[in-house]
Subunit: 195 residues, 2 copies
DNA sequence: CGCCAATCTGACCGATCGGTCAGGGTCTGA
DNA sequence: TCAGACCCTGACCGATCGGTCAGATTGGCG
């Protein structure tokens, strides 16, 4: 059976997404993916240089959005950074639930691969922003727990529609993060918004 | 080199704990453990029936405490269940940081093994308790995110002493969980406690 | 028709996995 | 002294992994 390249390519990608999300990257063999598509393992490796390239193409959209969020965060501090990080990450997590589930527990090893070299730094900046760049341990701990928890839990919420999951997570994050003890914590400051 | 059985047994267990926590269960080979101990792979399999038995013995203390927590939770509902679940799980997570890190991302597969057959049910009951047995999606989501986040994040806090980590996590959980809208949310009820 | 490029595959490769096994040391107690 | 229990190991096993390669099949085009 010979199909158009884009067709088989896409089928392999979709099958890999399902399998990776279900049993993890290392827990899924090229044979598994090929079986699900209905082709040979060699065909998978005809369309993708290697297993890592398959993963990289799968994660590309999510990584691009993560990169965008990181760009938005540069220069922001305090409560503003917290809010941007919270909304941005929750939205990303909800939209890319499956992609995030792929990395379940394999972050440390997968991040060593060149395609994901900078993700670790981005996630650290994200954590700092969510913690309000505070040096208090409580803030750092809360930020890390929330980030890890949302990443980990999102994969379990495939039955919950986006429009319901997103506000629920956002409410949780806003309630859970320590409000940064900024110079002006409560009253709205027009000065900050303008300058 | 011949050592007392308990000595080598313990060294293998300790090495396995380090390696499993660092690179995961599937990501660690018996060869890796043997190399770290300074013995042959066959020696590892002399002291432990198989790789799974090694993991089971490693996790036994943590599982026992988890089982205790589950027992304490039976019959409790509402805010009381929430509080017991919160304090119990935070304490467990802090004490058994490394053991929990072992399961990082490999929960679904590892839980299929007979030694951990009932953990899944326990963790589900724990989640329900932390959510105050509420059927609101927000409560369920918050409970799952917190449980997953604490499990996932604890392994990263090896540099933070227990006495600092425990209250920080407990504060986070108490702030983050949705207060259950129980029939009697505030005033203590002697009736419930007696019957 | 013949040619060529694209698509796909079976067979194969070296590496590594968990696990088995026969046997070699070493210690101890009768 | 010597039998036997205990501790340990090298060699080996079948299975599976990611990846390679030569060649079969197909479809479009001059």
């Amino acid at each position: 059976m010979v199909r158009a390249v884009s067709e088989t390519h896409g089928e392999i990608l979709a099958a890999a997404a399902r399998r990776f999300a279900g049993t993890g990257y290392r827990g899924t063999s090229l044979q598994d993916i090929a079986r699900e598509v209905g082709c040979s393992k060699a065909t998978v490796l005809y369309h993708f240089a290697n297993k890592e390239a398959l993963l990289a193409e799968l994660m590309a959209p999510a990584i691009a959005v993560l990169q965008d969020l990181d760009d938005q965060l540069t220069g922001l501090t305090g409560a503003v950074a917290q809010e941007v990080a919270a909304t941005g990450f929750v939205d990303l997590a909800v939209r890319f639930r499956r992609e995030i589930a792929v990395l379940r527990g394999e972050f440390p090893e997968l991040l060593c691969q060149p395609a994901f070299a900078h993700i670790q730094q981005i996630s650290e900046r994200l954590r700092d922003a969510l913690g309000g760049h505070s040096d208090r341990p409580g803030a750092r701990i809360a930020a890390l727990v929330l980030l890890a928890g949302i990443s980990e839990a999102c994969g379990e919420f495939i039955d919950i529609p986006d429009d319901e999951l997103r506000p629920a997570l956002l409410t949780l994050v806003r309630r859970a993060i320590e409000p940064v003890d900024a110079p002006l914590p409560q009253q709205p400051t027009t000065k900050d918004k303008d300058s």
